[in-house]
């Protein structure tokens, strides 16, 4: 990453701007989308099941948990910090939720709320150690990675695995499918809201005598969204329907994106990530922003862990372990979030996790030796990001 390239934290406002950005090589999410299409073509031609509605539905389900954790990690990466504890926290909070729900017999919703609150509290601890004691976030969360894992083992005790009943509320979360009418209503509402906000924004800008792009552009963009959403609904309906899990994850992505772009808090996140000293001099409470980012990360990790437990209908000693953390960070980075702070959007979690899970899913369908699978996964991962990097490369002066 050459230090001469600084990419804006915000979004095109007009087709003219979009073209300008293309010219200066800032292709936004397009190269990753290109990589995704390449993955789809390759795996689709190697195995006829890859693009089947059933498999795409599975893919949608497989994304949600790690994607949610990745969202939390983006919050911290935006500040130029890191959260290595997200995996352990997700496992620990899933265990807390399960113990409350199964062993103590609490209402599942209450158990979920308590578990997410526990995640937030853990994030608070990380944030305070980072800002007050000024320990590097790497070390704080590394200690968290080890320590919360210990607490998880301690809580699970001898027994190890705890099952969640299949037909319980928590397990049902990942086995609920929207009825067609609801799926279509949602899609239409989304497109309407998006198109409407574009046109309203345009109207207001004209009223304020600010430059605007052509109205047709707003229509094209809303149309694009409509096509994508309609395709997704049609494909998913061909199998079991639109999974609730996907809707939850997508809603989190959209809401957090709106928060980042349209609230003062979001603006300050980018400011602190871009230049913390400048943000401080502008009177922003940098400490609070940093602590909040860690709290968000902890809560989202907890929620992601709960989704994972729901899909597995169980928690065990390896909940939140394995390569979950690395995949969550990788998803954020592949989606275009900078590790140096100040640059990235929540859609990175969506695109990045899609790339990673599509690779994993495709490899599993191909039925290879695990040594070969590792090597191919690495190559495909590298290739997907190389496309992105090469596309950007033309741009640097």
């Amino acid at each position: 990453m050459s230090s001469t390239t600084v990419r804006p934290a915000h979004k095109p406002y007009s087709p003219k701007r979009a073209v300008e950005r293309m010219r200066r090589g800032d292709l936004g999410a397009w190269p990753v989308v290109g990589g995704l299409i390449a993955i789809a073509v390759v795996f689709g031609s190697l195995n006829e099941h890859f693009l089947s509605p059933e498999n795409l539905t599975n893919l949608a389900l497989q994304m949600a948990a790690t994607g949610t954790i990745s969202l939390g990690i983006i919050m911290v990466l935006l500040l130029g910090e890191i959260d290595l504890a997200a995996g352990s926290v997700s496992g620990l909070c899933a265990v807390i939720m399960t113990i409350m729900n199964v062993r103590q017999g609490w209402n599942p919703l209450l158990a979920i709320v308590v578990a997410v609150a526990a995640g937030a509290a853990i994030g608070l601890v990380h944030g305070l150690l980072f800002t007050r004691v000024r320990m590097p976030s790497f070390v704080v969360t590394l200690a968290g990675l080890i320590g919360w894992q210990g607490l998880l083992l301690f809580l699970l005790g001898e027994r190890g695995t705890i099952n969640l009943p299949f037909d319980g509320f928590v397990a049902k979360l990942s086995d609920t499918w929207l009825p067609p009418w609801l799926a279509w209503t949602l899609a239409v509402a989304l497109v309407g809201a998006y198109g409407g906000s574009l046109l309203l924004g345009r109207r207001l800008r004209i009223a304020a005598d600010l430059p605007v792009g052509p109205a047709s552009w707003a229509v094209v963009r809303a149309g694009l969204l409509a096509v994508v959403l309609a395709a997704a609904v049609v494909v998913l309906q061909a199998d079991r329907g639109v999974p609730l899990l996907l809707v939850i994850f997508a809603a989190l992505v959209v809401i957090l994106d709106l928060v980042l772009r349209h609230t003062a808090f979001g603006r300050w996140m980018y400011a602190v990530g871009g230049n913390a000293e400048a943000a401080r001099r502008a009177g922003i409470n940098v400490t609070r922003i940093r602590v909040l980012a860690f709290v968000l990360s902890g809560s989202l990790a907890a929620f992601g862990g709960i989704l994972a437990a729901s899909r597995l209908s169980a928690v065990n000693q390896s909940s939140g372990g394995s390569d979950m953390l690395l995949m969550a960070i990788a998803a954020a980075v592949i989606g275009g979030t900078s590790l140096f702070g100040g640059r990235g959007r929540t859609y990175a979690a969506l695109l990045g996790i899609l790339v990673i899970q599509a690779i994993t899913n495709g490899m599993l369908l191909l039925n290879l030796d695990s040594s070969v699978r590792y090597m191919v996964t690495a190559s495909v991962l590298a290739l997907a990001v190389a496309i992105d990097s090469l596309a950007r490369r033309g741009s640097t002066p």
Partner: protein, 347 residues
């Protein structure tokens, strides 16, 4: 778990709806870090299936010790139209929903090696994990008695990863035998079954207990036994006190012959794999073979084929591992093991 036993496992026969077509058999193994799965279970299973049913399609997945990944793998296999699932679960309980999914699709399930709990299904083929731990403990105890050191010192227990459910079984079995008979000076759970970590644990045990206090080591598998042996050799033990293992890794068999390791547990993987392969082909074709026994998994009685683990010490290598063709004598007797081989009568 009262009353749940009624959820029977009787749909086994329905797996062969498409009886004319050769069935698709899906094999799921839990990890690739220990030798056995990739180099024995899988090839042996595949070879047997091919010989019984040349047209059968085989799907194979290895979950790298990740329950969530195994879930994806099972989903992938169902997507590809598997007719039988032979499932070695990463997590005994966590696969229950997958079994449920398979049942809904009327695909029969054979639990392989590890018992699946929380739901009823068709068959279970395995060794007894608790029994493995008991045999390790018993072998160690016998060796100590023979050396006359059982009462004189302490032993060190190096258990597997806490995140691996089977390691709790091994631990339980070993404690069943050892508790009260010998003093356990130090007991460690080893993250990731890592030999490096086992080495460090052993070093620390030697430091903490004193060099001459340690009379034996119970290591849950061969890899960790290797680490413990390296630690003891470096600490000046000659010969090393009796140390147990499991998996019958080639390196461990060689150590057993040269006297560095006392024993290993040889799971006759060939019979396990081949038994499962036979069963899978039969079930895939719509048959419903009768099982010798049943095992209660807390939810239902599962028809089961249970195989006995075999404890292998230096004098038994010839009649078990070599005789079964698990390793060729030439592979074992390379280099410095040659002399030891001759002594054990292996050629």
């Amino acid at each position: 778990s009262t009353g749940t036993t009624t959820s029977t496992t009787g749909q086994a026969g329905t797996g062969g709806e498409n009886g004319e077509k050769a069935p698709t058999i899906a094999l799921f193994l839990p990890e690739s870090k220990t030798t056995r799965y990739e180099s024995f279970d899988r090839p042996l299973f595949e070879a047997k299936v091919k010989s019984l049913c040349p047209d059968c399609r085989l799907l194979y997945s290895n979950a790298d010790q990740d329950a969530a990944k195994q879930q994806q793998q099972v989903e992938a296999a169902l997507t590809q139209g598997a007719d039988v699932l032979v499932l070695d679960a990463v997590d005994a309980a966590a696969v229950a929903p997958l079994v449920n999914q398979a049942k809904q699709k009327k695909v029969p399930v054979i639990a392989y090696d590890r018992l699946i709990s929380g739901i009823g299904y068709d068959y279970f083929v395995s060794f007894d994990n608790v029994r493995v731990g008991e045999m390790q403990g018993q072998a160690l105890l016998d060796a100590l008695t023979k050396n006359g050191t059982a009462a004189k010192g302490q032993i060190v227990m190096i258990n597997g990863a806490t995140t691996d459910p089977s390691s709790a079984d091994y631990k339980k079995g070993a404690h069943n035998v050892l508790d009260g008979k010998v003093k356990i000076g130090r007991e460690f759970d080893t993250p990731d079954w890592s030999p490096d970590k086992a080495q460090q644990e052993m070093e620390q045990a030697v430091t903490a207990l004193g060099r001459d206090q340690i009379v034996g080591v119970l290591s849950a598998n061969d890899g960790m036994a290797g680490g413990a042996i390296a630690a003891m050799k470096r600490a000046g033990y000659d010969p090393t006190p009796p140390i147990t293992g499991q998996d019958a890794e080639l390196a461990a068999v060689q150590r057993i012959l040269t006297g560095e390791q006392y024993m290993t547990i040889y799971l006759d993987i060939r019979s396990e794999a081949e038994k499962s392969a036979e069963l899978a082909v039969a079930v895939g074709r719509g048959d419903k073979p009768a099982a010798a026994t049943t095992v209660n998994n807390g939810t239902a009685d599962i028809p089961a084929f249970l195989l006995d683990p075999i404890a292998v010490t230096a004098d038994k290598v010839k009649d078990t591992i070599v005789k079964d063709g698990f390793y060729k004598a030439a592979d074992i007797c390379k280099g410095e093991t040659a002399a030891a081989c001759a002594k054990a009568g292996i050629s």
